[in-house]
C-alpha cells in the first residue's frame, strides 16, 4: 500500500468525521476520537474503510496530563498497515462507550481495561473484573496505585548498590499484611455473592429450549479451575440443557501477576526475560514481538545475520508449539499421552537447540534490541540443519499418518466447535483459529516484519472452522515453517549479530509503538509508550491466548459438554499468557 493512498484515506475519514483530530504529539500517530462519536466511527471504519479487525483495546494512564486514554488498533483482514484511534477521558470519571456491539472481540479486552485501569465501558454486557477478583482494592495499572511491596516507581532500586543490605522479599511483603479490600468489602461474605454473579452471567442470554425435547432442568457445571483438561488453572462455567451447552463463560486470572505493572517498573531491557514467562512454550517469539516494538521506538534494526537467526528461532518455536498443541488436543480427545509424548520428542530436540544458543530450554531471553544475545555456538547450525532437513519433515508426516485418518478423531472433531469466518473476525480471533475458519490472515504476510517478506511460503488456510481443521492447519503450518527454515539455512549470511555495542541502558525516545508478530498461537502484540525515561510508561501485551477466548462461547454453544474440552484444546491457550 503506497503512502498516497493512505493519506487520501485519512482525509476522507477526516471529512466524514470533522470532530476527530490527528494525534499530533511527537512520536504518536492516529486519531483522537470524541467519546460520543466512537461507536459510529468504529462502525464506519469497519463497514466502509475495511478496518474490520480490532486487534487491540487497551488504556493508558497519563497521570501528569491528568487524563486517561483508551487506545484501539484496527487492521484490515485483507492486509496492510493498521490504524490507531484513541479516546481521551477524564481520570476521575473515565467513561467510554463499549465497542462490543460492533466488535464482540472487544469484550474481554474491555473487561481487562476496566479491571486494571478502571475505565467504565458503557453498555458493555458484562462489565466486571476479569483477571483480578472482586475483593481487589483499586485498579492496579493506574500510575498512582502502589503494590504492597512498593519500593520505587522504576528499577534499578537505590538500595541495591553501593550499600546493599540484603532483605528477604517476604520481609518486605509479609503474608496477611499485604492485602487491602475495597471499602465495605468482607471476604467472608463475598464468596456466595460472587458465585451467584458468575452463574447469573451464564444465565444472561435467552435460550430457546426445543419444543419437542423432554422438559428438563438446566444445570450449571464448573469445569475447572483444576480440571485436567483446562490446560492450567482455568475455569469454564457451563450451563447445560441435558448434555448440550447452552451458555459458557470463561473465568480466568488464577495465574495473574500483573505482568504489565512489573513491566512498567522494569527498564526496557529487563522486560525481555519477563516476556519469556508469558507463553512459556514460545519464549522466542515473545522476545521477538517485544524487541520489535521497542526497536520501532528506538529506530534501530538488527544486522542481517541476526535477522536470520531471529526467524530461525521463531519458526522452530512454531513447530515446537504446534507439535505440543496437537499432542494436547489428542489428550483432550482421549488419546491419552501417546501422541503427546511423540510430539514431545521433537520438542525436546528443538529445546536442545534453544538451550545451546540461549542457555535455557524454555526461558530463552535470547533477543536483544538491535540484535540477539549471542551468535550460534559451534555445532548448533549443524544441529538445526540435521533436524530441519532430515528429521522434522518425516516426523510431521508421521503425525499425519498417525492421526489424520483415525476414525475416532474424525468423529470427534469434524463439524464440532464451528466458528465461521465472520464470527472469527468479529471476535478478534487470531492465528490458527482464524485461519482454520477460512481467513488467510497471517501477520508475516499481511504486515511483514523482520525479513519475512523475503521468504517463499504459503499462508495456511482451511475453511470449515471446526476442530478438525484447527488440527489440520497446524500440520500445514509446520510444513510451511520447515519451508521457511530451509530457506534460512540456505541464505543465512555470516556477520555481526548486534548493531552497535550491547547496552544495558537503552535510550528510547518518547512516543508510542505497537508491534506485532505472528506467534504460534496467533497475533502477539505489544503496545509500548515511552516518555524518554529508562522505564516504559506503558507496557501492554495483546495476548492471543486471552483474546481467542472471546470466541470460546460461540464455538461451544449447542455442542455437547464433552466437546467443550476438545474445543478448548483446539484453540491452544496457555495460561501464563492468558492471565499475565
Amino acid at each position: 500500500m503506497s503512502e498516497e493512498v493512505l493519506v487520501e484515506e485519512k482525509t476522507e475519514l477526516e471529512e466524514r468525521f470533522p470532530e476527530i483530530g490527528r494525534d499530533e504529539r511527537k512520536g504518536y500517530e492516529g486519531y483522537i476520537v470524541p467519546a460520543e462519536k466512537l461507536v459510529e466511527f468504529a462502525t464506519v471504519l469497519r463497514d466502509e474503510f475495511g478496518y474490520d479487525f480490532l486487534s487491540s483495546v487497551t488504556a493508558v494512564d497519563y497521570l501528569p496530563e491528568d487524563w486517561m486514554e483508551v487506545v484501539y488498533h484496527a487492521y484490515q483482514t485483507t492486509g496492510g498497515p493498521g490504524l490507531v484511534y484513541k479516546v481521551q477521558v477524564d481520570r476521575d470519571d473515565p467513561v467510554v462507550p463499549s465497542l462490543t456491539p460492533v466488535f464482540p472481540g472487544a469484550n474481554l479486552q474491555e473487561r481487562e481495561a476496566w479491571d486494571l485501569m478502571g475505565i467504565r465501558f458503557e453498555d458493555h454486557p458484562n462489565l466486571k473484573r476479569v483477571l483480578l477478583w472482586e475483593g481487589f482494592d483499586g485498579h492496579p495499572l493506574r500510575k498512582d496505585w502502589r503494590e504492597a511491596f512498593y519500593e520505587g516507581d522504576g528499577k534499578p532500586f537505590k538500595s541495591r548498590w553501593p550499600s546493599g543490605e540484603v532483605i528477604r522479599a517476604e520481609e518486605n511483603n509479609p503474608f496477611n499484611k499485604n492485602v487491602d479490600y475495597p471499602g465495605g468489602f468482607d471476604p467472608e461474605q463475598w464468596t456466595p455473592a460472587g458465585e451467584t454473579a458468575v452463574y447469573a452471567g451464564v444465565g444472561r442470554l435467552d435460550h430457546a429450549v426445543s419444543e419437542t425435547a423432554l422438559s428438563t432442568d438446566q444445570i450449571v457445571v464448573n469445569l475447572g479451575p483444576q480440571h485436567p483438561s483446562t490446560h492450567g488453572v482455568f475455569r469454564m462455567v457451563v450451563r447445560l440443557e441435558g448434555e448440550t451447552v447452552v451458555d459458557l463463560e470463561p473465568v480466568m486470572g488464577y495465574l495473574h501477576r500483573n505482568h504489565e505493572k512489573i513491566g512498567e517498573r522494569n527498564t526496557f531491557l529487563m522486560n525481555i526475560p519477563f516476556t519469556d514467562r508469558l507463553d512459556y512454550f514460545n519464549s522466542m517469539s515473545n522476545n521477538f514481538g517485544y524487541v520489535l516494538t521497542v526497536e520501532k521506538l528506538m529506530g534501530v534494526k538488527p544486522p542481517e545475520r541476526a535477522e536470520y537467526i531471529r526467524v530461525m528461532m521463531a519458526e522452530l518455536t512454531r513447530i515446537l508449539n504446534h507439535m505440543v498443541a496437537i499432542g494436547f488436543l489428542l489428550n483432550d480427545l482421549g488419546a491419552f499421552f501417546t501422541p503427546l509424548l511423540y510430539a514431545f520428542e521433537e520438542r525436546e530436540l528443538i529445546l536442545d537447540i534453544f538451550e545451546a544458543v540461549s542457555g535455557s530450554r524454555m526461558m530463552c531471553n535470547y533477543y536483544r534490541f538491535a540484535g540477539v544475545a549471542r551468535d550460534l555456538p559451534e555445532g548448533v547450525f549443524e544441529q538445526v540443519k540435521n533436524l530441519v532437513l532430515y528429521r522434522l519433515p518425516g516426523k510431521v508426516n508421521d503425525l499425519d499418518t498417525f492421526l489424520t485418518d483415525n476414525e475416532i478423531i474424525r468423529a470427534r472433531a469434524i463439524g464440532i466447535g464451528v466458528l465461521t469466518a465472520e464470527e472469527a473476525i468479529a471476535h478478534s480471533a487470531v492465528g490458527p483459529v482464524l485461519r482454520a475458519s477460512g481467513v488467510p490472515y497471517d501477520v508475516r504476510r499481511a504486515d511483514p516484519y523482520g525479513i519475512y517478506d523475503r521468504f517463499d511460503f504459503d499462508v495456511a488456510v482451511r475453511y470449515h472452522g471446526d476442530i478438525y481443521d484447527r488440527y489440520l492447519i497446524r500440520l500445514d503450518e509446520m510444513r510451511q515453517s520447515i519451508r521457511i527454515l530451509e530457506q534460512v539455512i540456505q541464505d543465512i549470511p555470516e556477520g555481526p549479530i548486534q548493531e552497535g555495542k550491547p547496552q544495558y541502558q537503552v535510550r528510547v525516545p518518547a512516543g508510542e509503538a505497537y508491534g506485532r508478530v505472528e506467534g504460534p498461537k496467533g497475533e502477539l502484540g505489544f503496545y509500548v509508550v515511552s516518555n524518554g525515561k529508562p522505564n516504559p510508561w506503558r507496557y501492554h501485551v495483546r495476548a492471543p491466548s486471552f483474546i481467542n477466548l472471546s470466541a470460546l462461547e460461540v464455538m461451544c454453544k449447542n455442542y455437547k459438554i464433552a466437546d467443550v474440552v476438545s474445543i478448548l484444546g483446539s484453540i491452544d491457550i496457555v495460561l501464563g499468557e492468558t492471565d499475565r
Partner: protein, 211 residues
C-alpha cells in the same frame, strides 16, 4: 478414506508399533556392536541426536543429560589466584549487575578505604537471593570485568530455603579455573580479547614514550 472403517485406526497403531519395535531393534543393534546404550555418555548422546529412534528418555539421576556450554543457572563470582596463592576478586563492585538485574536480587556492599573513606574497587559483601533470581543471565552478560558468570550446577535444592538461599560472597565465589572448565570457549575468547587489549595498551604506552 472411508473405504474401510477402522483403516485409519490401524494405520495409527502401525506408527505406535513401529515406535515400540524401534527401541528393541536399536538395542539389538547396539548389542551387536558390543556397545552399551544405557548409562554411557555415548548412549545418552545417541538418544538425544536427530537420528534417535525408539526410546527417548534418560534415567535421571542415574543418567544425566550433558548441559551445553551456554547453559545458565544461578550466577557465581570469579576470583583469581596468583602465584602466592592469594585470592583476588575480579569484581570491582561497579554495580552494573545490580542495576541490570530484572528482579533486583543482587545486593552489593562496596568497600571503602578505612583511611580516606574513598571507595575501593572490590566488594565488601555480595548477596544474591537465589529464590528470586530468574536465571536470566543479564548480570553475566553486562558485567564489564567478566567477574560474574552463570553456573552449570543445577542441583542446589535445600531443605530450608529461608536459611540457605541467600548466597553471600563466600558461597558465590569460584576460582577462575572453574570457570575455564565449564565454559572453555567463552573463557578462551575473553582471555584472548583481554590479551589483545593489553597489548594494544602497551603499544600505545610505548608510542607515547617515544614521542
Amino acid at each position: 478414506m472411508a473405504d474401510m472403517y477402522g483403516k485409519g485406526l490401524l494405520k495409527g497403531l502401525g506408527v505406535t508399533l513401529k515406535h515400540f519395535m524401534n527401541t528393541y531393534l536399536e538395542d539389538i543393534r547396539w548389542l551387536s556392536r558390543g556397545k552399551r546404550r544405557y548409562y554411557t555418555a555415548e548412549g545418552i548422546d545417541s538418544r538425544k541426536s536427530f537420528a534417535a529412534t525408539g526410546i527417548f528418555t534418560v534415567q535421571y539421576p542415574d543418567e544425566k543429560l550433558p548441559v551445553p556450554e551456554e547453559f545458565r543457572f544461578i550466577p557465581f563470582l570469579i576470583y583469581e589466584v596468583n602465584e602466592d596463592g592469594e585470592k583476588r576478586d575480579r569484581c570491582t563492585s561497579c554495580g552494573i549487575c545490580a542495576k541490570v538485574c530484572p528482579p533486583q536480587c543482587i545486593w552489593i556492599e562496596r568497600t571503602n578505604d578505612p583511611d580516606t573513606g574513598r571507595p575501593v574497587p572490590e566488594p565488601a559483601e555480595f548477596f544474591i537471593d537465589v529464590d528470586i533470581c530468574m536465571n536470566c543471565g543479564l548480570c553475566a552478560e553486562y558485567c564489564p570485568f567478566d567477574a560474574i558468570k552463570m553456573d552449570h550446577d543445577y542441583e542446589i535444592s535445600v531443605y530450608n530455603r529461608l536459611e540457605k538461599n541467600i548466597f553471600n560472597k563466600e558461597r558465590l565465589s569460584r576460582p577462575v579455573s572453574y570457570y575455564a572448565s565449564i565454559r572453555p570457549t567463552n573463557y578462551a575468547r575473553e582471555e584472548s580479547a583481554r590479551a589483545e587489549a593489553e597489548a594494544a595498551k602497551a603499544a600505545r604506552k610505548a608510542a607515547r614514550k617515544k614521542q
